[in-house]
Point group: C2
Amino acid sequence: MSYQKLPYKQNLTLFTDLYQLTMGQVYWAEGMAEWESVFHHFYRANPSGGGHTVAAGLEFLIDYLTNLRFEEDDIKYLTSVPGNDGKPLFRIEYLQYLKNLEFSCDVDAVPEGTVMFPHEPLVRVKGHLLMAQFVETALLNLINYPTAIATHAARIAWAAGEMPVLDFSARRAPGIDGAFTATRSAYIGGFAGTSNVWAARHLGIPAKDIKGTMAHSLVMSFDTELEAFTAYARAMPNNCLFLVDTYGTIEGVRHAIEVGKQLRANGFEMLGIRLDSGDLARLSRRARRMLDEADFRKASIVATNDLNEFLIQSLRNQDAMITVWGVGTNLMTPSLAGVYKLAAIRKPGGDWTPKIKLSDQPIKVSIPGTLQVRRYRTLNGNIADCIYDEHTDISQGGTMISMKDQTKQMRLPPNAQSHNLLVPVMRGGQPVYQLPTIEQIRHHRMVELHHVSDSTKRFDNPDEYRVGLEKSLYLQRENLIIERRGVSDWEHEAL
Amino acid sequence: MSYQKLPYKQNLTLFTDLYQLTMGQVYWAEGMAEWESVFHHFYRANPSGGGHTVAAGLEFLIDYLTNLRFEEDDIKYLTSVPGNDGKPLFRIEYLQYLKNLEFSCDVDAVPEGTVMFPHEPLVRVKGHLLMAQFVETALLNLINYPTAIATHAARIAWAAGEMPVLDFSARRAPGIDGAFTATRSAYIGGFAGTSNVWAARHLGIPAKDIKGTMAHSLVMSFDTELEAFTAYARAMPNNCLFLVDTYGTIEGVRHAIEVGKQLRANGFEMLGIRLDSGDLARLSRRARRMLDEADFRKASIVATNDLNEFLIQSLRNQDAMITVWGVGTNLMTPSLAGVYKLAAIRKPGGDWTPKIKLSDQPIKVSIPGTLQVRRYRTLNGNIADCIYDEHTDISQGGTMISMKDQTKQMRLPPNAQSHNLLVPVMRGGQPVYQLPTIEQIRHHRMVELHHVSDSTKRFDNPDEYRVGLEKSLYLQRENLIIERRGVSDWEHEAL
């Protein structure tokens, strides 16, 4: 069963910031709507202070773009939006134009699970100016959050090493599809399973990876903990993982062992116990000793309680005897601060004009051109990524320059293996990309992370991976900045 | 137009943690499924370190509960979920039982927009044990996140004082319905408008409150900023708010003034300008001076750029001349850490038995009983809230005791105005609650916050509002703790 559609019953075309529609009216009125344009989606800093990012969300984006059209009732609604004088904001002729519009752009994007670095485009949209602009809001929404969560999940899974991590985020996730997206991104990021039945079903996550056992309320519903465990074992002898901290953890472990022995006598094996409060390091060591002494050496010790990558790392450093990690609340993370910027424009019959956005903050100055990213790799891992304009031939080598420090330069290694990160996704608005399964995406992420060094993956002060601009692109950008800057605010302030 | 349904095309019944279904099988197998139970949704600490919380999300919850049923294909899917031995986790007879089940519980809840404090129930579910347990996951999902956002929005709106705050969160929000929920909660929390067209439409937010003008890409699409502003003014003279920082803010303000004069000559008035980068305090003062000197005294200065309540407060303290605040990324906030706990149970023909969950952390010990909250109020504002068991008559007064410090006691003022916070929402699974409009919810929030003191609303070290347990409830809880504790982990550790 494979999920291909966003789970909404309403048409999503109006899921947009109002200004996309007002800007569209300007392009339309000025006869610019059908000019060609290039927009890039990228971000400026890795989430969580880390050294890398794991791309996700593309499948949702393709679904949105494929179904993008203005229906009669969308148009009707837009006629009701007033301008400041109470009169309609939109002209009827413009709305009619929208009604006949189809998404006709070319889209190139990095496959989900690809490891990315700041300033590298995750998605490139090329074509019809009005449409390429219009899709900004949904594109950012559908890529930013899944990417942040996939990245965070990969960090957590990395902290847990070989041990499985389970997604228990449904109750703290931001809405039904916030949970849905979190479960999908967590699975892509390397989580072993989820408690979210609806998400697993509609995402095609194998049913064996849906996990869960009991809450405190089950224990409380019975007169004693022992009765609760016994009843559970009667009803589901093949799913016995006992939550032991409802009244007191040590006593709870004793009860689990007692019921575990009964189970074994009946030919079943207790899966283990779950700790949900208290000093997890100390309690897990004590529980392990008790379980081992009772000959339940294979019984798992699952830990939950606001875990994140740092707590997991800390608990492992304290020799906690935890074998499975459940993460809920802290899978949630701030969204990736991804942006979508115009980079080039072409009037009918004209040439491409590169476009730049300035800022007093150098990191916020955009990169003009039709960008592609080339990744250089040896058997030992990635060497560097070069951002270049697709119209420049770098197949025979070249030089790249760091955007942060122009004294850092590097020859593009002519003999290294290399490949372009952006792949064709849509042409003329039609999908041309074979959607991978969620298992394939997960595998891709695994291979990608394998090529990233541990020093880039570490949490504290991660090593900065080498990303540069191809030299001619670098120089073009520099010239554009100087040319555009004109009388700068610096000068204005000084005057 | 009023939105009454969650925006999903799939049935949401399986939106649940797996363990709700496994626990259900235990209750069913033990003949306990139809015992009566009481569960409360509450939280232990106000979000963002604040002094209060604004409840939200109830409308979504009622929609979910009203449509809760297991369909044929849900049942079929559940037969595919394996236990640890690869054999089915669920028994066919149990799944048949689920298929015939309807939600039949009583639900009491606080109206959306009500101001709440730690340990006070926001929702109470009473009835059929299996069903009351089953709804936990969706209930927490549908209440926790909207409540956190509504609270955060109210903080931001409070920081902005009389000035309007606009919701620009769609691009950074967690998924389509994450954005939808954020827009709804922001509006309830006091935001003046939103850029999210889809959300506004389906939530019934007035079309006049949908806001937005232009992005940097519009300015970049033209050869010069002045041409871009001029073209915008031609296309939409009744919506001119110019984004001035694409190339340089001061120069941008000059261009805005130039086009503003043209607009005025044609009988239209420029709405204002938007600042999106740089030192907002300094630039806004400079822009204000320029606008005033050019006789655009009423022109707004809208500020955006990762604003939150602290930045708004700081900018106001720096005499920033900002008149409208746009908030996006930082409207998002961690979810409320709300929990849902069993508090009492009744076997057929028996009496209610109070239930308690222990913990080494005193704050995590639950409150047993069928709880209600009574709020005491004078003309000057709220005095205190008393949590009591509904079976206790407090109409003639009584005493309440702080859960944190039992030496803090207070007589319930017999002459003060008071009312119960939980109101009937469903009876026997049928809705009995007249859903308010979003405008009514917003108004209720406004009145509620009016009764909360500024010292409780402040951000730093807010004054703790008085919440206590009615004395007989307090004593019952204390006795249950001692009785249940038995041989505690303290003692185990010492042995």
